[in-house]
């Protein structure tokens, strides 16, 4: 059973729709008790960093999720702003992040490129984790963001994407994973990633 954290931000329904299509049980987690015994948790997120941190902290699900991370048995996947929240801090806000994967969220600085980074871009795996299907040379996903995750320890970066600069589009530390792009809206590539996550 995949739990999708619903703290008021992020497209929870889109994940439920994909898992329903894949035939993998998934449910919305809206209160702390919904996370009891969770093996797989998805932390979505859209909008601004501080607002997302505030909403998540106020949801009552932050502490139980922190305990699950500390126990190390639960697989967690942060998506978009949900991925950025895994970092220590963000240039977009003043609140600290969750600090589950050491890193800083930075703003793209290239004035010549349209912002936000919007559309389909290539994802190049840097290491094998089971999340991305490395055998497929043509991985591409839908991106929609203006800030990106910069890992402190490069070994936490599991895939890269280029938009002016090369940035860490997928990260991992222990059982905590994060992706900047939107697998829930990335056709078969996204469906495969979400199915892979369920079997990690």
């Amino acid at each position: 059973m995949i739990r999708i954290v619903d703290y008021g931000l992020g497209n929870v329904q889109a994940f439920l729709n994909v898992y329903k299509r894949l035939g993998i049980p998934a449910q919305r987690a809206a209160v702390a008790a919904d996370l009891d015994g969770a093996r797989h948790v998805i932390l979505p997120g859209v909008g601004s960093f501080d607002y997302a941190m505030e909403c998540f902290s106020a949801s009552g699900m932050r502490e139980p999720l922190e305990r699950l991370v500390a126990d190390g048995d639960t697989r967690i996947l942060g998506i978009c702003v949900g991925m950025q929240m895994l970092a220590d801090s963000s240039d977009e806000g003043a609140l600290p992040g969750l600090g589950w994967i050491p890193g800083k969220v930075k703003q793209f600085q290239d004035d010549a490129l349209p912002m936000p980074h919007m559309g389909w871009n290539d994802v190049v795996p840097a290491q094998s984790t089971g999340l991305l299907e490395e055998a497929d040379a043509g991985l591409r996903f839908y991106f929609l963001h203006s800030y990106y995750f910069a890992c402190t320890d490069p070994s936490n970066a599991i895939a890269h994407t280029r938009y002016g600069i090369s940035f860490d589009c997928a990260v991992r530390r222990g059982q905590v994973f994060g992706v900047q792009f939107h697998p829930e809206k990335s056709h078969g590539w996204g469906g495969a990633l979400l199915r892979n996550f369920a079997s990690i």
Binding site: M118, G119, F143, H145, R162, K185, G188
Partner: protein, 267 residues
Amino acid sequence: MLRPRIIPCLLVHQGGLVKTVKFKAPRYVGDPINAVKIFNEKACDELVVLDIDATVEDVEPDYQMIGRLAAECRMPLCYGGGVKTPDQADRIIALGVEKVALSSAAVTNPALVGEIARRIGQQSIVVVIDIRPKAGLFGKGYEVVTHNAGRVLAVDPFKLAEEMQNAGAGEIVINAVDRDGTYSGYNLALARSVKERLHVPMTVLGGAGSLADVEQLIAQNGLVGACAGSIFVFKGGLKAVLINYPTLEQKDELCARALRAGGHEFC
């Protein structure tokens, strides 16, 4: 490499999909859910669905329909039509939609764009500006229209595009009303003039008569959204209804050719 986006635009009228010509004469082309299913199979970049009744009839967005579309859609979905408040935008996003498009409500009240951006994030707000050449023998330049081109707004379209961007829009769609459904090609001069003023992504709608027009738009603008209705719902000179979209390979080749021809760096 980030790719230019090729985006079918579907119009909803009385619960069915239609295609218009210059915003008039809606012709029924099928069922919205069925169209989404076909575009899923074709791994389409993104979809725009506009309810052309909601604003003119002053009714709430059809949340039931939007929810069903979102549940079916495996690509990013942008919904527009009748959105006037942050609560409505919130509700649409919660149904599983990525982007909410504003038009009449935003261009008449730019502050609304910022209010909604604070709720759902700038990246999820699209402003659609309906533009046409000024009417009359001595008409020069362009004018902005709302309510399916039923009302004219006394503003400069280029300044308005900038204003919408500054107010918090994450994407601007330039919709050339006079080219809608005409197969006469995109208004490239208009696209260029707007793009010069924007740093958010721009999408162009109205006039595409073939994939060659899409290619030309991309060659001119590089990273751009090429949005079109007729070419993705009709086939052939007799305009037989047939939902279609280029294959992944055709799309990649088209984009690569266009970016090379336009001298755009691969970003």
